[in-house]
């Protein structure tokens, strides 16, 4: 069976500490100003009737990929497990993918290519978890193969209420926010 890499982000556990953000930066040696993941705090209501949702967001590694479709050079592509990657040697930094992505998940690296979350595929290939998952002190992040119904991520998505970002964009995101 084909693998389908996915991530579940437990918004009930997450405290928004940014450990995922900093570990991503050091694992992937990102320059100042470059982020592959980030924290969103969404507040609703009026004092004192308030709700707060905290999300660790990143590229959704969508099953339908407007970014790949928009790429004129083939740099943006779908790699192992449906992971959406950018081949920096083919990327001209034209930003068409950035316009196509509804999530603002991409940014231009100072070296001229577009950069984004890779699900730490280099680690996954060595049977390690992505850096953000490994360090998360609240164990909010679960990465794995959604196509394997026994995997922790598939179980979470099957059994917990969840949402995806901007489902109306028709991108079929593979990052699921457990609520």
């Amino acid at each position: 069976m084909t693998r389908r890499y996915a991530m579940a982000v437990d918004t009930l556990r997450c405290v928004g500490c940014n450990a995922c953000v900093i570990s991503c930066k050091t694992e992937n040696d990102l320059p100042s100003g470059g982020f592959r993941d980030w924290i969103v705090q969404e507040v609703h209501g009026q004092f004192p009737s308030l709700t707060l949702q905290i999300r660790s967001e990143r590229c959704n590694h969508c099953a339908e990929t407007p970014c790949v479709a928009a790429c004129p050079t083939g740099a943006s592509h779908v790699a192992a497990g449906g992971t959406v990657l950018v081949n920096r040697r083919k990327c001209t930094g034209c930003k068409a993918c950035m316009v196509a992505c509804p999530y603002g998940a991409r940014w231009v690296h100072p070296d001229g290519y577009v950069d984004k979350c890779t699900f730490c595929l280099h680690r996954v290939e060595r049977a390690q978890q992505p850096a953000c998952v490994e360090t998360c002190p609240t164990r909010s992040l679960t990465f794995g193969d959604l196509a394997d119904p026994a995997s922790p991520v598939a179980r979470l998505v099957a059994h917990r209420p969840h949402l995806v970002l901007q489902p109306e964009a028709g991108t079929r995101p593979q990052v699921f926010f457990l609520t």
Partner: protein
């Protein structure tokens, strides 16, 4: 093959038309290899186990070293506090190691104190100057006239120096400016102070109650891990906070309490537990004393009574009490950590400790556990130095603060002002703590500093306190030095290793080296028989045949498992005078303090002002990390939180209300003005208080990134209210009003 970018773009322009012809041909057409998995190659050639120093929790880390550089830091799975996971600060340690603003050479002051003009000198010259200054102070005023302020693991060596030198005056702001009231209150009630890391079994609690503690923003790794674990298992949260904290966002009940009224709420909770029989009768009968006095004391403390004081709905008080009671014994009242708020803090913590007892939570699973230290021997010494001939000088004349169980840093500052105490302090050694941000009433602190004959600062970065020092000694960061083993108490006793991942950069030196060199210059070399930190630890281990190799390679040595709670067979014993849990405190009564906590109203601020409250960001450890460029990226400066509706009706701003993110100046009740700071207009806070994260508003120019960013709550804390029981400096007693910051053209 490789193409330069320029060539590549040329090809791209030529081929743009044809690329659209056949999709799927792209990759082959370009003539490039397939799509490789991008690998940043940050794994180390070597991985060095150590423990973290970005805060004082002490998590186990693995430093990846590649070609002489630390590329990344990950959690050590073998370490009981990190369990393989790290908070952002722990991961961001490289931002400290490679901070371009680090102290690089020893410095001698070349101008007036505070003018921040220094000359780089050799270690020999710097330590010679320190030795000369110390000897002079000793001759004129005795060895006890030297005080050490210390925070952090390397302080161990400086404490050894103080012992050899003959001064008992060793303090840290982490007591009277932080967790002191809690330590006194739990000692009074259960006979044991809590210490750090706290002995809390958060992971097994069914209900967790936070009173002003914002765990999750306050990022004590193990506690946050366990909080999430408990929530994952269905535990309920009760959060008492004037601010809708991150934890409040996860709570079953959020009680947005009027600041300063917590004792009224806590008494009302006790009232409900006792009135509705939700307390643990058998536990209290077996272990506690003073239940009848407590019942009488809270008989009239109804939720309706507390509601008028706290501004909370009486139904909310009752419902939350019922949830807390129904969840016992695994119903955990978190003791908090930064507890110096209003000067009656020991009494508030007593009210919390009483609830802990009513719930039968002390000594039980999901509650307060028994912890122990790993059996590590001391370094075999030929002979201990003689004890100092004069007592500690951190208490003013007249026997105040009888129940302080650690040294008061504020008391040491006061003893530096002539004639305040039994004798005057004349020299300070300040290790790793920026007193300028840690102490309230800055002018008073700086006045004390001007009285000193010698001020030596040891630090990694040019902190504000360094600007006031006569000699500044650059210490190597925790990633560049060996230290003594971490040996705190934990539910599974263990020790952790601190070992250098890379050699010290610049001319910085490890603390052990600095102390040993200094001791040699003042004739105390015989008290430092060890060769270096590593030999020190190895020799301590060898006494009981413990393995250095295991410690060094895995980062930890685990001790035998111990029973931690009644369920595991740990007997409930209490080291109070009566040998019981003292709900009613005879000790307090004998000292003329309230034997049971009493609510007394706090003073209000001037009209139109807001009570200033402070807290933490998960990315920062006070001012210690604000210059860390890695950690500053997601949180570059603090903001002042102001209720959005209050902002819309703010007096003086009718014509043009404050806008989101606009810069304001805060002016406190004494006219002290902050540096410009962004305002965060939000529904997440009451309309009678404002909130800031502590640590910004740095005045040290040498910290080039942090300088001028945000505002300092410490500067605005010109007033404080001293806890008469243990000498803590209650700091939530300041009020600010808003002014629009003048925008320069």
């Amino acid at each position: 093959m490789s193409l330069s970018r320029r060539q590549f773009i040329k090809i791209g322009a030529a081929g743009a038309g044809s690329a659209a012809l056949a999709s799927g041909l792209g990759t082959r057409w370009w003539g490039l290899d397939g799509d490789p998995t991008p690998d940043p190659r940050t794994d180390g050639d070597r991985v060095v186990a150590s423990y973290c120093e970005l805060c004082f929790w002490g998590c186990g880390v693995l430093a990846h070293v590649k070609e002489g550089r630390v590329t990344k830091i990950t959690g050590n799975p073998a370490h009981p506090l990190s369990r393989g996971m790290l908070c952002p600060r722990g991961v961001g340690g490289t931002g400290l190691l490679y901070d371009p603003d680090r102290l690089k050479k020893p410095l001698l002051r070349r101008s007036k104190r505070g003018e921040d003009l220094f000359e780089e000198v050799s270690w020999d010259a710097a330590l010679g100057r320190v030795a000369e200054g110390l000897e002079k102070v000793k001759q004129r005023h005795g060895p006890e006239a030297l005080a050490l302020f210390t925070h952090g693991s390397g302080g161990v060596w400086f404490k050894q120096f103080m012992k050899a030198w003959g001064s008992p005056n060793i303090g840290a702001p982490s007591y009277a400016q932080c967790r002191g009231p809690r330590e006194a209150a739990f000692q009074l009630t259960f006979g044991t102070p809590l210490g750090s890391p706290e002995p809390l079994d958060i992971g097994n609690a069914r209900c967790i109650t936070l009173i002003g503690s914002h765990l999750g923003e306050n990022m004590h790794n193990t506690q946050v891990q366990e909080l999430a674990e408990a929530l994952g298992k269905g535990a309920q949260l009760v959060v008492v906070d004037p601010r809708f904290s991150v934890a409040a966002g996860k709570a079953r009940y959020w009680l947005p309490i009027k600041p300063g009224t917590d004792i009224a709420l806590l008494l009302a909770w006790s009232h409900v537990l006792l009135a509705e029989g939700l307390h643990d009768t058998a536990y209290l009968a077996a272990h506690a004393s003073g239940l009848d006095e407590l019942k009488a004391h809270v008989a009239t403390a109804t939720p309706e009574w507390a509601a008028t004081i706290t501004g909370l709905d009486p139904g909310l008080i009752r419902d939350s009490a019922r949830l807390i009671g129904a969840s016992r014994p695994a119903s955990l009242i978190h003791p908090g950590r930064h507890t110096v708020w209003y000067g009656d803090d020991t009494q508030r913590e007593r009210a919390m400790a009483i609830l802990v007892a009513l719930l039968g939570n002390w000594g039980r699973r999901g509650g307060y556990l028994k912890q122990d230290k790993f059996p590590l021997a001391g370094y075999p010494h030929a002979g201990a130095p003689p004890p100092p001939s004069r007592a500690k000088v951190d208490r003013p004349k007249g026997g105040l603060y009888p129940l302080a169980n650690e040294v008061l840093a504020s008391g040491l500052c006061d003893a530096t002002r002539p004639g305040q105490s039994l004798y005057d302090l004349k020299a300070w050694l300040v290790y790793g703590c920026n007193l300028v941000q840690a102490m309230p009433d800055r002018p008073r602190l700086l006045e004390a500093i001007q009285q000193l004959e010698l001020l030596v600062a040891v630090d990694v970065l040019p902190a504000e306190i360094c600007g006031w020092a006569d000699v500044v000694l650059p210490e190597a960061t925790y990633l560049e030095r060996d230290d003594d083993a971490w040996n705190g108490a934990w539910r599974r006793p263990f020790i952790a290793v601190r070992q250098a991942a890379v050699p010290p950069m610049y001319d910085s030196k490890p603390g052990w080296w600095i102390v040993k060199e200094l001791a040699g210059k003042v004739g105390l070399a015989n008290h430092f028989p060890w060769t270096d930190a590593r030999e020190f630890v190895k020799t301590r281990l060898a006494v009981k045949g413990q393995s250095w190799e295991t410690l060094s390679s895995t980062g930890v040595l685990l001790g035998p498992e111990i029973p931690t709670c009644e369920e595991e067979g740990a007997p409930l014993t209490f080291e109070t005078e009566s040998g019981t849990i003292e709900l009613y405190s005879k000790e307090l009564a004998d000292l003329d303090f309230d034997p049971l906590p009493v609510y007394r109203p706090q003073e209000e601020g001037p009209p139109g002002s807001f009570r200033l409250l402070t807290g933490r960001s998960p990315l920062h450890s006070f001012g210690r990390t604000v210059n860390n460029r890695l950690l500053a990226e997601p949180y570059p400066e603090n903001e002042v939180w102001l209720n959005a509706d209050a902002a819309a009706h703010l007096a003086g701003f009718e014509a043009r209300p404050l806008a989101q993110g606009e810069r304001v100046v805060l002016v406190n009740q004494d006219g002290v003005r902050s540096t410009p700071v962004k305002v965060k207009l939000t529904q997440r806070i009451r309309n009678d208080c404002v909130y800031m994260v502590h640590g910004w508003g740095q005045t040290a120019r040498g910290q080039r990134y942090a300088f001028g960013r945000g505002a300092s709550d410490a500067l605005l804390t010109s007033r404080y209210k001293i806890d008469p029981i243990m000498g803590g400096t209650g700091m939530n007693v300041n009020f600010v009003r808003f002014e629009r910051a003048v925008v320069s053209a």
